[in-house]
Symmetry: C2
Subunit: 540 residues, 2 copies
């Protein structure tokens, strides 16, 4: 365990020792949670955001030592350097300034010769003006009809965050345009999307920093063919979100607008840049996007300024490290008791697993401790009727519950068994955390519950653009804190390169066969050749 | 490791020994997959279904010993007993006859005094007649308009499988009615659903065996209020799928129709009963549902009759056990390279984790070996741009890729980089399995890939009701095989009971407070009381 961190870090050693007492049979959550003032001492609150970690398997000593770990690893200092524009993405020699995209306090952050805040404000003003023209029907498609739908063509970080925010906000704000997502190079993803839109009233938003992402370019080409088939001019139906000077920002390929993204914000942290800004402003109006930014900024300020022992994302990162490295849980579930947050988990799954799924420290040493773990989840109570059997009686994993005090639905509500549906929802959320922690002895072993299964609970007041922003920024801050403490770079993703490279080799083989039917796949290994032969034959 | 199985089973001991040689540093997948005839010797095929396990970390000796494990644990005999109607669900003293729901070969299976095959055929004839009347507009809603949409009110096994099959088949068969799903007691799930339907043309399908499932009854009450508000008669807008004689099968609560389900088919295995049969027949017509059953039956016959060494679900179950118990992987990802299969993983997540997430053997001993693991996944290539960083460079987990030879989309297709999108999709699927297995050494540790990460690949020819049925039945058969070999009961789910019980206690407290505003939650623990106070206050 943890040699790399061990070398430098007393807290890690102490935590390793403490973990033995916590995994002792007599130290059961059943007892821990009954300690006096347990909730008060193991929960944190900021305006509109509550974090309860009283059902985690920690005590005062563990918490104190975790805070020492944050101190020793200088987590807060690194976070502060990140927000100031330091090169915290060391392997790619870049800043990580997603917080600047919603920074309403700084006047200026200079990065080389670029003033980041005003650059991004400038893009936001363009987005505001453009989306208003679309909504006011001053910009229309080729046939003059106003736009009703927009399709985001982008994959990974170019859509997952936006999809989460759109799905959540749609529940509390009526959209002015409907958003759709075309991430997958699967032609059937395209087939699904075109069934739901009218080509004349559809705007296509191409999102790619380099404008070379394979899937995105393949889908763009398919859309160009589709527009041509429908006699529609791409110049009147496409917009791009891309880096300045990329092929998508080239006047010789005219589009309705081109909005810049910057290399100091990585894909999975880009929702508050033009990547989310353009589609969300088209969907809800720029003002709603701006309210969302306000919520992100509130959480950023807390993450930056709150002292360690009051810092929600930091404490939450420490607990995650405790669970993965010392209690050896291999996964974490995120279970929002809120249907509108159904796309939060897929977003955090990318954010967290791509940021922390590393085998090497920022300074190039192989890690011999646990870095990121698996994140998965479905909304509650659905999850209770799906995989919670395993959570209660199989191999345990920590769960993060999310509750929303007030639902969005405000029409007549029925009562069942004396309670409203939203009350039933909360009764279940509370009960699951209890059941996991407490367990229940039974002589019938099939009905025996060991308990001692940890969970946290996050509560927000109501679903608003602001609270959705807080959730987004909470998970971003927690992820980077966890990376900083573990000494790994949460901003690169070299692990995706090898697959891309090998796919490129295989693509070359397919390309040859496309022009020469007699071409044989002798250059490939037998399995790859078998699959390509099957593909060309059209059947097994 | 494995004392309970150890007691009885030589193969388990031998596998434990073999695992040491396979986890030896010199035994790398990079070498294994280059052995002569590797693909031929480590893949299996049946009509229209190919299973490649050549990139699993096994060799001839491991495979032979895994087959011994199946033999020693009498897996095939138990499967056979299951299909014949024996009481294989021992804790609940029930048969598990989901295979009988699509059995076109048996004339009769007797269970006590009930002849199962004819009972289910009878229900299917009712479904056929009812769905035809709906499609022919002989049955309409209160205002005489034909039905265009149907909402399934059901949770867990009452909707997840149906949702998977509907989502997949929609890609290859044009629906006659659109299906929607209302599982969650979250009132906002209801709010989302009613935005997408017209009350006058909407049919509500209530699915609950006991007709007492809390979420389903709460949603039913909300729907009854909704119908009343819209002056629509429930007797003309509701149908039920429920056990004979349940409150949902009571003529004093008139509905358009009531279709029976049986206690010899559990929720997560119920897609081919009326639970899937009614909604899928309404969506696509009974003939399409019947084609789907044909595909299930083909896989069932294979699972029942193919010898162990040729038996795809059985081999796949053995590999799962190898990975979880001997190589100690805590999870498995299922990655369909097919957007239309996007809801396969949530279905299998329930099927597998609820069936195998157990801590006790069928005869009541506590398991001291690994039972079920975590199942998660998103479609490829999306997953590559989400969590595959962790798959390549973080803690490894086995992956199951699923490819479909021909896409459903059949209109003009663009080429990018010399290949069609579907070819690009396959290039990526093949490359990911290669990259995970092979790895790639690099002096720059950030770009170093250890490889030796196992995967399987399943290929089907094209998306049809039949092939979707094969996939469904494959995962069912594999799940029960894994349960039988591990000596656990894959049909019960006592682990969900404690949470239900505690939720019921909390509900009682809420109910009191609903009628007495002064009521204080003194009977609850401080955390639960805090949450309920917050809920009643309406804000943190």
């Amino acid at each position: 365990m943890g040699q790399t961190l061990f070398e430098h870090c007393n807290a890690f050693k102490n935590l390793s020792r403490l973990s033995k007492s916590v995994t002792d049979k007599n130290c059961h959550l059943r007892h821990l949670i009954q300690e006096k003032d347990r909730l008060k001492n193991f929960s944190l609150k900021m305006e509109g955001f509550f974090y309860d970690f009283s059902k985690q398997r920690i005590d005062d000593r563990v918490l104190a030592e975790l805070l020492n770990l944050a101190g020793e690893t200088k987590a807060k200092e690194t976070f502060s350097r990140m927000t100031a524009g330091d090169i915290v993405n060391v392997t790619e020699k870049r800043a990580a300034l997603h917080t600047a995209a919603r920074d309403f306090t700084h006047d200026a952050i200079w990065l080389n010769d670029v003033e980041v805040i005003s650059e991004m404000n400038h893009v936001n003003l363009q987005i505001k003006a453009f989306s208003e023209k679309i909504h006011h029907r001053q910009i229309t498609g080729t046939t003059g009809k106003p736009f009703t739908d927009a399709v985001v063509i982008g994959i990974g970080g170019s859509y997952l965050g936006c999809e989460f925010v759109y799905t959540a906000c749609k529940q509390c704000v009526e959209p002015q345009m409907d958003l759709h997502f075309l991430p997958n190079v699967d032609i059937d993803n395209f087939g699904q999307v075109i069934k739901t839109i009218d080509p004349e009233t559809c705007l296509w938003i191409v999102i790619s920093k380099s404008y070379t992402t394979t899937e995105t370019m393949a889908n763009l080409n398919q859309v160009l063919l589709f527009l041509k088939t429908h006699h529609l001019d791409p110049a009147h139906h496409l917009v791009t979100v891309t880096a300045k000077g990329s092929p998508g920002d080239n006047p010789s390929n005219p589009v309705l607008g081109s909005f810049h993204m910057f290399d100091f914000i990585g894909g999975r942290y880009s929702v508050t840049s033009a990547v989310g800004g353009l589609p969300l402003s088209l969907a809800f109006g720029f003002d709603v996007f701006n309210r969302f930014l306000t919520g992100c900024h509130a959480m950023d300020s807390h993450a930056l300024n709150a002292p360690e022992e009051k810092n929600i994302p930091l404490i939450s990162a420490l607990i995650s490290i405790w669970n993965s490295n010392f209690l050896r849980y291999p996964a974490q579930a995120i279970i929002p008791y809120c249907s509108a947050l159904s796309r939060l988990t897929p977003h955090v799954q990318q954010l967290y697993m791509e940021s922390l799924g590393k085998g090497v420290t920022s300074d190039g040493k192989l890690t011999d401790y646990q870095t990121g773990v698996i994140i998965f989840g479905e909304p509650g109570t659905n999850a209770q009727h799906s995989f919670f059997q395993l959570a209660h009686q199989g191999s345990p994993f920590p769960i993060e519950f999310i509750g929303v005090v007030k639902p969005a639905y405000n029409k007549d509500q029925a009562k069942s068994k004396g309670v409203y549906n939203h009350q039933e929802l909360w009764a279940n959320m509370i009960a699951q955390a209890q059941a996991l922690a407490m367990g229940k002895a039974d002589d019938n072993t099939a009905k025996h519950f060991t308990g001692n299964r940890p969970s946290s609970t996050i509560v927000i007041n109501t679903l608003t653009p602001e609270s959705v922003g807080m959730l987004l920024a909470f998970y971003e801050a927690r992820t980077v804190y966890e990376g900083f403490i573990l000494g790994i770079n949460p901003f690169d993703q070299f692990g995706v390169e090898l697959g891309k490279h090998l796919a490129s080799d295989i693509r070359e083989q397919i390309k040859r066969k496309n022009t020469d039917a007699a071409y044989a796949f002798n250059a490939l290994d037998p399995a790859a050749a078998f699959y390509l032969d099957t593909l060309f034959k059209g059947a097994l």
